[in-house]
């Protein structure tokens, strides 16, 4: 068997040591310098592009303050009963400002005329309707939408589409699909499970306007 012996004398070691020290210093300086200059390297992109996209949506005044549920046959009764179905959102049928229609909903979403591209309006909840550690599942909270028509029968009641916690790709999450203008009228309802614990249940509904070709990201 042949053994290979590496002989390094003291001079070579010193030379290597100095060389490596220089490399270390060089590397350290190289790596440190961009960090020190990071604050001075700020760039700003200004409006140079020729295409400007505008997207604007609004909630009707009655929707923007939130929806709450009442007993439709007895609107003054705001206490809901276990096992009750299709509890009515308070402004589902209270429209009085348009003499052409009766019983129109006061919940709607508007795509403003400044919007210059087709958009979707997606909806989701932040969570189930929750009261402390108890909750009413999202699928018990339902909605329906119609464009243009707002009367006693449109949007249809009771609603049939339930909420989800994610926007996803599901068309059921879309209040508006590839639209550039108009009003989208909504009605909401709530089913209370028969074994539901007492409490005041709340959550948040999100309505997100975004370009049609992109996923909902709000």
């Amino acid at each position: 068997m042949t053994k290979i012996k590496i002989c390094i004398n003291k001079g070579t070691t010193k030379f290597l040591f100095i060389l490596f020290t220089l490399i270390v210093i060089f590397c350290s300086l190289f790596l440190m310098s961009p960090i020190q200059s990071a604050d001075n390297s700020q760039q700003q992109i200004t409006a140079n592009a020729t295409i400007q996209i505008n997207v604007a949506i609004s909630l009707s005044g009655n929707l923007s303050v939130g929806i709450w549920f009442i007993n439709r046959t007895n609107p003054d009764d705001i206490v809901l009963v276990k096992g009750g179905s299709n509890y009515n959102a308070s402004y589902n049928f209270n429209g009085t400002d348009n003499p052409t229609f009766s019983n129109e909903t006061l919940y709607w979403i508007t795509i403003d005329s400044t919007t210059n591209t087709p958009i979707d309006i997606c909806t989701r909840t932040n969570a189930n309707l929750t009261s402390g550690s108890y909750f009413i599942p999202n699928r018990n909270l339902t909605w329906n939408v119609t464009k243009t028509f707002n009367n006693a029968t449109n949007p249809p009641y009771p609603p049939t589409v339930w909420f989800n916690e994610t926007f996803g790709w599901d068309l059921d999450n879309l209040v508006a699909d590839n639209e550039q203008s108009g009003n989208f009228y909504l009605r909401f309802a709530l089913d209370v499970p028969s074994d539901q614990q007492a409490g005041s249940y709340n959550n948040t509904l999100y309505f997100c306007g975004k370009e049609n070709s992109y996923t909902c990201g709000c």
Partner: protein
């Protein structure tokens, strides 16, 4: 007619009128002209967005960044702003768009990421939401409207390469020194 009767009549009239008071529409608009941004490592790059309010209700708009680009945000200025309602001609889009405020969203090319080279493109977006306050009902849902501007973030990788090159050189030096030390200690 005595005072009490007058007051009663006023209250009755108000009770009829109050449901018919039209509440203001509340919403927010987002104007943008950039949908992708390139950020070099260890550098900051910013985009200006216009937040506008074409609706009649006053709003407090909140700005946030969503999805995979979120972790590269260095600052958003401001994150919240007040925009008064627009009460001009509803058909004048230029006037509506002028009721705006600018928001600067900046990204920093943080080179410490894993895997070190890929992926270099991240998708996400900027969200402007109108905040109107909490819900007043006893049982139900608060409602929030938002608008979304998609954004793809491209991160540079050249500095990362040099950073790793430095680590490789330093590691090699350490290994060589260890070998030399061991060599020295070994009996001849």
């Amino acid at each position: 007619m005595d005072k009490k009767t007058k007051l009663l009549i006023i209250l009755i009239v108000l009770s009829f009128v109050s449901p018919q008071i039209v509440k203001s529409d509340v919403g927010v608009g987002l104007s943008y002209n950039i949908q992708e941004i390139f950020v070099e490592d260890l550098k900051e790059n910013c985009i200006i967005y216009s937040i506008y309010n074409p609706f009649d209700g006053d709003i407090k708009a909140q700005i946030s960044v969503q999805d995979n680009i979120k972790r590269y945000v260095s600052r958003i200025e401001p994150t919240e702003l007040f925009l008064p309602g627009y009460h001009g001609n509803p058909n004048d889009n230029n006037a509506k768009l002028a009721n705006k405020a600018n928001v600067k969203v900046c990204f920093y090319g943080n080179p410490i990421r894993w895997p070190p080279f890929y992926p270099r493109d991240y998708d996400g977006g900027i969200v402007a939401s109108s905040v109107t306050g909490s819900m007043t009902g006893t049982m139900g849902s608060a409602a929030v409207s938002s608008v979304f501007a998609p954004l793809t973030l491209h991160l540079g990788s050249i500095q990362v390469f040099y950073r790793f090159l430095g680590i490789i050189i330093i590691t090699t030096i350490v290994i060589i020194f260890v070998i030399l030390k061991i060599k020295k200690k070994l009996p001849k």
